[in-house]
Amino acid sequence: MKRIITYAQAVNESLIQSSKKDKNIIFFGEGIDDPTSFFGTTKDLGKYISSNRLIEMPLSENAITGIAVGSAIMGKKPILSFHRVEFALLAMEQIINNAAKASYISNGLHKVPLIIRLIIGRGWGQGPEHSQSLETIFSSIPGLKVLVPTFPNDAKGMMNAAIKDNNPIVIIEHRYCHFIKENVPKNYFINDIKSPKKIINGRSITIVSYSYMTLEAIEAAEELKKLNIHVELFDLRVLNPLNIESIQKSVTKTRRLLIIDLGFKKFGIGSEISSQIYEKQFSKMISPISRLGMPDHPVPSSRGYLKNLYPNSVKIIIEVCRIFNISNNKSKEIINKITNLKSKEPIDVPFSKFKGPF
């Protein structure tokens, strides 16, 4: 039986089911119990677990992260939620020094089973300090795992897996993903948190994307079929430790690769994947690996600036057509069609009727 729920509901379900199973799970958040309940993701927790496991977080991001690390070392499984990636910047010392290194320094005697949820803002004029994803920063720290679930099924299954894991894990959730709907089993289940997932089989070109960008890639892949380009699409899912085996395999077949960063293209996830692929399969590639990603500047508030800013399906199609040397004549039609479609949607909301909260 199908049961269609949103990503936010899927996260919520994972948190409820997991914390009913494991009494050591505790929650930290600013307004952990408030009416908006982290965009619905922590909703009703208080109905299922004792209220002392919902720990209100004063506006003290650094200490609270350290407190969660200490609590994890001493045997709890804290789940820390930040409404925006940016707020965690106050806690980088705790994350990079204490959370990520306690196991290593103690030669394995300490463990830090901690989850830090970071939510990426986008849309409705969030502006430069409420819309950064900064995933490379977290991914570059050995000792941290970094997960970026795209779909509701993963939102639940990867969260469940992360909760069972014994490492500090940063889970980056894109606000737009919160609205994705999908069939998600009601029972408790676990998804792998080790590797990317192939979501479209194809033979012409491998595309790697993650989080919200995967939606854009799917849209693009659909259209590209019309040009007889069959995309093999991977949803990356795990940014650290980075495991590109399946991508390598795919590239051996397609011999073409496009990587789409959610954050900055420069110093992005794509640059590491591209470098690794070349190191191993240089001679296989028949055209240079391409990367798309955010441009090298902050994201301003006004929609006026956003026109060509975020990578989207149109840009992906254009880039793929460039890779295949497809003439403008041939590609014009589908590009126009999808550009048209996109231009009817407001540029700064996940869907037309969206009204927040942001």
């Binding site: 600013e30 307004g31 408030d34 009416p35 908006t36 209100e56 004063p58 506006l59 003290s60 991001e61 650094n62 200490a63 940016e86 707020f87 106050l90 409705w124 004029g125 969030q126 502006g127 430069p128 300090e129 409420h130 441009p295 090298d296 500047h297 902050p298 301003p300 508030s301 006004s302 929609r303 006026g304 600036y305 956003l306 026109k307 060509n308 800013l309 700064d348 927040g356 909260p357 942001f358």
Partner: protein
């Protein structure tokens, strides 16, 4: 409250500013649902007296820093209102050319230096400003506004400590509306006087009700002198009340996160009303003048909104500018 006649004009000006802020923000409320102001808005309705009282006592050369909830401070420090509204509309004419949105208002020409939407993040900036004044032997002071939530951030303490040991002329203004978003201060801080926070850093302290703009103004005039004379920072806590939801144009009291009795008691102390009655009693204003005043402001504000609404969006080709300075 007995008001000195010779300062009539000043008091009237304070009142005008209160009205101005209220009218601007209520206009935001009424326009917001049109979905043309496409950015978060943190309204100051109910808290206007804090901004007006404090900024009224500042000179042009005094600097101001603010937070996500910066509309009132910007207007009270005489920031250009058209540029503010244009910013909220995301227009090229905005004070940040549409780059910041409502949480980044600034007007350098008025020494309204910066609004920083990360809680407490603007406080050390304001200390940097007063440090410069000290190094440059300037008499002016720097004022930073922030909410009760700021008191929980480590950087607040670090900043007060530094300002204290360096004898900097900072006026730290905490507008205590008892809430951070939906969360009561009781769940976030122990029940102790805020004075203790100031004393921890040997910073001077004053606390008062945040509803009466004239009272605040008169007090801050004195506090400013004290800051300059003693060359020491001061923490001023103003107890106040936010009428509307944390972010957005609506009233959200149906959610029940604030007690009814609490809401009622504060609604009795509306800052516009208090000052209006005060002026009335002191015969500085009368009902009909008041009506005209309001009418004029509204007209002016309406036309500003109209102009802002019609103004151009920034050009996407400009998006790469000013990442770096030459």
């Amino acid at each position: 409250m007995l008001l000195e006649k010779k300062n009539k004009k000043t008091y009237l000006n304070l009142y005008k500013k209160l009205l101005l802020i209220r009218i601007v923000e209520e206009k935001i409320v009424s326009e917001y649902s049109k979905n043309l102001m496409r950015c978060p808005v943190h309204l100051s309705i109910g808290q206007e007296a804090c901004a007006v009282g404090v900024c009224g006592a500042l000179s042009l050369s005094d600097k101001v820093f603010s937070t996500h909830r910066c509309h009132a401070h910007y207007i009270a420090k005489e920031g250009n209102i058209y540029k503010m509204i244009a910013e909220i509309y995301g227009k090229e004419d905005g004070c940040c050319n549409g780059r910041g949105g409502s949480m980044h208002l600034f007007d350098k020409t008025k020494n309204f230096i910066s609004s920083i939407p990360i809680v407490s993040s603007g406080i050390p900036l304001s200390v940097g400003s007063s440090l410069n004044d000290k190094l440059n032997n300037k008499k002016s002071i720097t004022c930073s506004f922030f909410g009760d939530g700021s008191l929980e951030e480590g950087v607040f303490h670090e900043s007060l400590n530094f300002a204290s040991i360096n004898n900097l002329k900072n006026l730290f203004v905490c507008e205590n509306n008892l809430f951070s978003v939906y969360t009561d201060i009781k769940l976030r801080q122990p029940n102790r006087s805020f004075k203790k926070l100031a004393e921890a850093h040997k910073v001077d302290y004053y606390e008062m009700d945040g509803s009466n703009a004239i009272e605040i103004y008169l007090k801050v005039l004195k506090l400013k002198k004290l800051i300059i004379k003693r060359s020491k920072p001061l923490l001023l806590v103003l107890n106040t009340f936010r009428y509307r939801e944390h972010c957005g144009p609506n009233i959200d009291d149906h959610l029940g996160y604030r007690k009814n009795s609490y809401i009622k008691s504060w609604l009795k102390k509306d800052p516009i009303n208090i000052t209006f009655k005060n002026l009335l009693k002191n015969q500085i204003i009368d009902e009909s003048k008041n009506d005209i005043l309001i009418e004029n402001i509204k007209k002016n504000i309406n036309s500003i909104f109209l102009k802002a609404e019609k103004a151009k969006l920034p050009k996407s080709k400009d998006v790469k500018k000013f990442v770096y300075q030459n």
